[in-house]
Chain length 230, copies 2
DNA sequence: TTATCACTGTTTGTATACAATGAACGAAAG
DNA sequence: CTTTCGTTCATTGTATACAAACAGTGATAA
């Protein structure tokens, strides 16, 4: 696993919480490598928007409620467009891939709810692969990088994805609706269905956002908070 | 000027044409600095999509006609959304900035056509600042990075922006229409006006795309072409 | 002739040393 | 007591040396 992937995962899994200061040396010691590859990783994460480089050091970016809202707006716009384009350009093999991803999704959900041998992580991955297949079917190569940038942020809050059976079923139904619209080449229906699906996901995240905000206060070094304390 | 800015400018100005191989040592010697900052610059350019890293070396990305078409589709989507949001969220000071940018645009065009003391470069910059002011008025902080990624590619072809008087006037009118719609908070009109404006710009670029494609054949090293020659 | 293999040179990947910079701390002066 | 200045230390920025990887080349064998 590259330094980039490691740090990204650590951030997304909450190991490095928002506002935490990431010094190069600290990460280098942690990964047992030199600072050089660390710097590259940090630069990349910064251009992706996951970290913010201050004058001194790099910090994990803190996303406010407004940030999440705006990011979801963009995701809705982009994935809605992808769905509409997929409805135009989809081939039979595209439909096959989307259907496969969705079948796997259904199975994973069943397994998760019944036996518990499938984890939420697995479900998120499979969900992701369905969305990917839609993007692929849109035949716009350039849209992918934009969406991946916008998709990653909510994952920071994945620990709050305590999906219950209803939510999971609802999500599966949404996928099926989207798939059907793309199959029938109904562009507007595909776009709207994707819109609703993503906005529903946003609502789930927003429910927990204040809990999240609380959890990460005081992560930045005390020196900084002392100033505020006056 | 940082290495990143230098290389980016060089690419956008056609000094490093598409498919050209950019070895780190070459750039380091050219800029009289070590490879370390060069590597960072290249990594950043790669995540922005201006260069492509092969197994051996980094090359300036070659954009096909399809690429340009798809990139413009995304730009239309994003800037159209920005215009619509601006129509909702614009403040008086936003309107002021947009109006100022547009006044400067008008003056620059007049100067360019009459006295010639203003260059196309200047006009492009001012045009850019109008679009920026719209994005700013949209109040979505995150949209900016997406648009800047998508705006930069057509600049590679800026040498083909031989705008005539008609085109420049048309562009100015479009700006005015957009501005008026945002002022009146007519979201749909703002979006559509922006759509038309950008698609018109795309058409200008597409007219010259085959000329561009021809110009840059044979830039890659001969060793590669020899294989094809059989 | 063609395929395979080892060798060579070029180029990237990584480690490390040192320079530059900025923040924190403390001392001195108002 | 507060402000300002300079010193010190932590941290990033840059250069450079070396390791690793890969493409190209030529030799050898089928």
């Amino acid at each position: 696993m590259s330094a980039y992937e490691y740090i990204k995962q650590a951030i997304l899994h909450g190991e490095f919480p928002p506002k935490m200061r990431l010094t190069e040396e600290f990460l280098a010691k942690k990964l047992q490598i030199s600072r050089t590859p660390i710097r590259e990783a940090l630069k990349q994460l910064e251009t992706e928007g996951l970290t913010v480089s201050m004058k001194r050091g790099v910090r994990v970016r803190h996303f406010t409620e407004l940030d999440i809202r705006q990011i979801y707006d963009l995701r809705t716009l982009l994935e809605g467009y992808a769905a509409a384009q997929a409805a135009i350009h989809r081939t039979d093999s595209d439909l096959g891939e989307m259907a496969t991803a969705n079948d796997m999704y259904e199975k994973a959900i069943d397994q998760y709810l019944e036996t518990g041998e499938t984890t939420i992580e697995d479900i998120l991955k499979i969900n992701h692969s369905f969305h990917d297949s839609v993007i692929q079917a849109s035949k716009n190569q350039h849209i992918h990088s934009h969406i991946s940038k916008v998709v990653v942020v909510p994952l920071i809050f994945r620990s709050f994805y305590w999906f219950n059976a209803d939510q999971l079923r609802h999500s599966l139904d949404a996928h099926k609706t989207i798939l059907k619209a793309i199959e029938k080449q109904d562009t507007e229906r595909a776009r709207v269905a994707m819109h609703e699906h993503i906005y529903h996901g946003r609502d789930q995240v927003m429910k927990h956002i204040d809990v999240i905000d609380q959890q990460y206060t005081g992560v930045e070094e005390q020196k900084v908070s002392f100033q505020t304390e006056r």
